[in-house]
Symmetry: C2
Subunit: 528 residues, 2 copies
């Protein structure tokens, strides 16, 4: 036993050493892969890193070059500190931090000076007590203030800097007499540091939070389009996958809506930073708040897509040979839906109003087709008198009311449902009349909600159990598409997008730049 | 005209002044309200603020008291700085920041010393060039590194501090000869600051991130329970509200699931901080990763609740008199569902295993009732031979295959569907056998998935269009409840929750402490 153990321990050690050395050998390769991937995912990161390096070198010159050092002295080190702390990935984040820092420093300086002035007149012991008390009171009050929602959202960093500066100045003033001079000199160098940051962030390859917000909205729209298409295709094609409950990140459905679902905090941070950025145009303010609203609507749309995805994984499944009956109309609705989403994405990308064709005849006809397909199974639809929408549920109700007379439930009419044909005709004639004057935004607005209402209420679904849920959710997405269109239109109005011109429809291409905004955005949040 | 304008301008001014003075008068009241609300929502905030004030006063004493000042000198100011920057709301966040800061400072100090050592041997001009180059290279490389996902997640703050310290030391070393001594003294005072922070955060009214994560999970479970209950109640009672599309924050349905949907980043931050906290028990590591997993499953459940909520707002609605037919069983299923969720919440709150009754006869019987209710409308269910599950869709398929022979579709049997009665009996007998040995977790595990599978597949829904979607989603939530139970069980296993004892079921009470964790949590993220 005693002989065996050391050998196995030795072997263990050998094995561990071997695996460790193998890991060590693989490390440079892995590191290089990461370095490469991070840069390829968003080349602006390389630019930002170089900008930081350059800025630091510039402010270091204050210290390294003799003539400059004579001007600012030891305090030059504060410029270096400012650059490290203030220079952020996007212009908005830098401005937000820089202005917060400036404001915090200024306020803290004034208050500290006041405190020092009061304390100066008294004896040394009383002064110490006074300063200690001031530190405690201001420290407690300021920290408590950071929990106020409004302050936390906008000025958290400024309040922290206020606390820091106030303490530094107040406490040092006890031992150092010329606090005012120190504060003055320090302010000087901090201003230099801030200036370097501003120049770097605003004029040298600027990276705008607003731009990121804009692009991420486009990407989210496209992701939803791809997701819904993949979802419906999978539902009708390879149903055997349904047991695969764990959503691998490679699943195109999951990949499409994932970015949308968890976008809230990212959107809000980007919008907050964008709100600090200078206007790009004279006429319009940057509609960052509208992007946040659009993001909320997109998330809401995303939840329906998740529920649709849930239908694929549900325990109860409509057999494949039944689904096939409704495959073509469903796929057609989906294609039209994703086409509309792509058009919205394109309109935002190119900063133009979206095409008035967006909820077009095509989508409406596709819905109509689906309706017809559902109706074309006459036994799924009892009492299918033409032009008289009847419904199994109405039948059920009638039956419940008079459960003995089972012969009478043919042709029960539901007056609350608009008959689809007449509604369609009505809408079509209205649309023709408006065709020529469609540039007026007001009319477009009147037109759309009506249209979608008709499109949806004119569908009287036939009976088809789990499939009914699926189809119902699909129609629900069309209804929510309406909300998206509304918000995009509002965005176009506020941001003064250019008018839509026929011929603006670009070919739908899925190869857009893939920017993982999250990674950049966190850098600005977790920073000092 | 000239006379009129000044008067109106004056009036305007007066009006503005008046409204301004009114605002000013209201301001103290509003401020006091905010102060009060912030403290009432989470009294720990007051504690934290007092802790910060106290810590600052303590480290200020280093500067203010003569004997202490003689010991540490001017560098005492660094202790103040450390406290301001490191002391966070929760113990985990403080530890995370403190250790990051320590590590960053140490590494930066070593590297800066090395750089200084190399530069020392050379001439003044070459030294300046060398230092400038080092600042540029290290600045660029470090900033780029902050984009690596792994480093950003865990060490973002440490890397920032590394950059800061490295630059401070390297640049100052050009003018100051005894850098090592400075660094040494400074390290000393920083250690004192960190020590004060650690004592304050770990021993004086500690606030644990892990605790927050735990409580927020309980609150999320309860929110979902309330939400789903309110949702189904609204569906069957006052359907007239359906047009109220904008979800007011007071809507109990929306309020219930809102916290769940956007919980991802909050959960992850809390878990990250919790991972830095010391273990509370010797036997078990703190299962923060499992809380994150449970949070993901809860979000997934939440999406189904959103879709269910969407049914209330959908354009196509099943008339109320039809819904009434299925009201009681639906409400019963919902009650059982929310009871199960509340039991899960209670089991987590009391850190005990959840009751084996959780997916009990009650829930199963409720589902069975719903099934029966759906079946009890015989005309909704063609060919309802007893013990032979048939289905409209199967009929439709059969009909499609032989569309000429419409007389033959009675009694088509679907062998893929298990007949519910036999399945139920089978499960019941199995359950009886296991009744006495239910304390063994292994057997419980075998039991549950089977049970839920039977519970769900034994439901052959009848036809009922938008209602079918609603019912289908309701059943879907039961299926997802299974995932939640699985993750909670796993949590109980990893975290060594105590065994369930009969009598542990507490009365369901909705009056739990309402903690808005988000607000606290952001404070730790946006901090310097």
């Amino acid at each position: 036993m005693e002989l065996v153990l050391p050998i196995s321990a030795k072997e263990n050690l050998k094995k561990n050493m071997k695996s460790f050395s193998e890991k060590l050998k693989r490390f440079p390769g892995l590191l290089w892969q990461t370095v490469w991937r991070v840069g390829r995912d968003d080349p602006r990161r390389v630019v930002h890193a170089l900008k930081v390096g350059l800025s630091l070198t510039l402010v270091s010159l204050l210290y390294l070059l003799e003539p400059l050092f004579k001007g600012v002295g030891q305090n030059a080190i504060w410029a270096v500190m400012t650059v490290v702390v203030v220079l952020e990935f996007t212009a908005g984040a830098t401005l937000c931090k820089g202005l917060n820092r400036g404001l915090g420093t200024l306020l803290a300086g004034s208050l500290a000076f006041l405190t020092g002035y009061i304390a100066e007149k008294t004896g040394l012991v009383f002064r110490a007590v006074f300063i200690g008390t001031a530190v405690f009171v201001i420290g407690t009050a300021t920290t408590y203030m950071r929990f106020f929602p409004y302050i936390k959202r906008n000025y958290d960093y400024g309040v922290l800097i206020f606390l820091l500066t106030f303490n530094l100045i107040t406490v040092s003033s006890y031992r150092v007499s010329n606090v005012l001079k120190i504060a003055h000199e320090r302010f000087y160098t901090i201003a230099i540091g801030c200036g370097v940051c501003l120049v770097m962030t605003l004029f040298i390859f600027p990276i705008w939070s607003g731009e990121d917000l804009h692009n991420s909205t486009v990407i989210k729209l496209e992701g939803l389009a791809k997701s819904i298409e993949a979802c419906v295709n999978e539902y009708f094609n390879n149903v055997e996958k349904e047991t695969n409950q764990d959503k691998s990140p490679e699943d195109p459905i999951y990949k499409g809506y994932k970015a949308v679902l968890d976008s809230k905090s990212q959107d809000e941070t980007l919008a907050l930073h964008a709100s600090w950025e200078p206007r790009h145009s004279r006429h319009c303010r940057y509609p960052w708040q509208q992007y946040v609203k659009l993001g909320a609507v997109l998330r809401h749309f995303g939840y329906t897509v998740v529920a649709l995805h849930g239908c694929l994984q549900s325990e109860i499944q409509t057999p494949q040979h039944c689904r096939v009956l409704f495959k073509d109309p469903c796929i057609r609705v989906t294609n039209e839906l994703s086409k509309a989403l792509m058009e919205l994405a394109n309109s935002i990308r190119n900063r133009r109003h979206c095409s008035p064709e967006i909820l077009s005849d095509n989508l409406h006809e596709a819905l109509q087709d689906l309706n017809n397909a559902l109706k074309s199974q006459p036994r799924l639809f009892l009492g299918s008198n033409n032009n008289q929408a009847t419904n199994m549920l109405a039948v059920a109700a009638a039956h419940a009311n008079s459960s003995q007379k089972r012969e009478k439930y043919n042709g029960v009419s539901l007056s609350s449902f608009k008959t689809d044909n007449s509604a369609l005709l009505e809408w079509k004639s209205k649309r023709m009349a408006n065709e020529n004057s469609r540039t007026e935004a007001a009319e477009r607005k009147v037109l759309r909600p009506q249209l979608s209402k008709i499109a949806i209420t004119s569908l009287e679904f036939s009976e088809a159990l789990p499939f009914a849920a699926f189809a119902s959710l699909l129609v629900e997405t069309v209804a929510r598409l309406d909300n998206i269109i509304e918000e995009v239109e509002e965005l176009a109005r506020i941001a003064c997008f250019k008018e839509f011109k026929p011929g603006d429809e670009v070919i739908v291409n899925f190869k857009t730049q893939k920017v993982n905004v999250t990674l950049n955005h966190f850098s600005s949040q977790g920073a000092e």
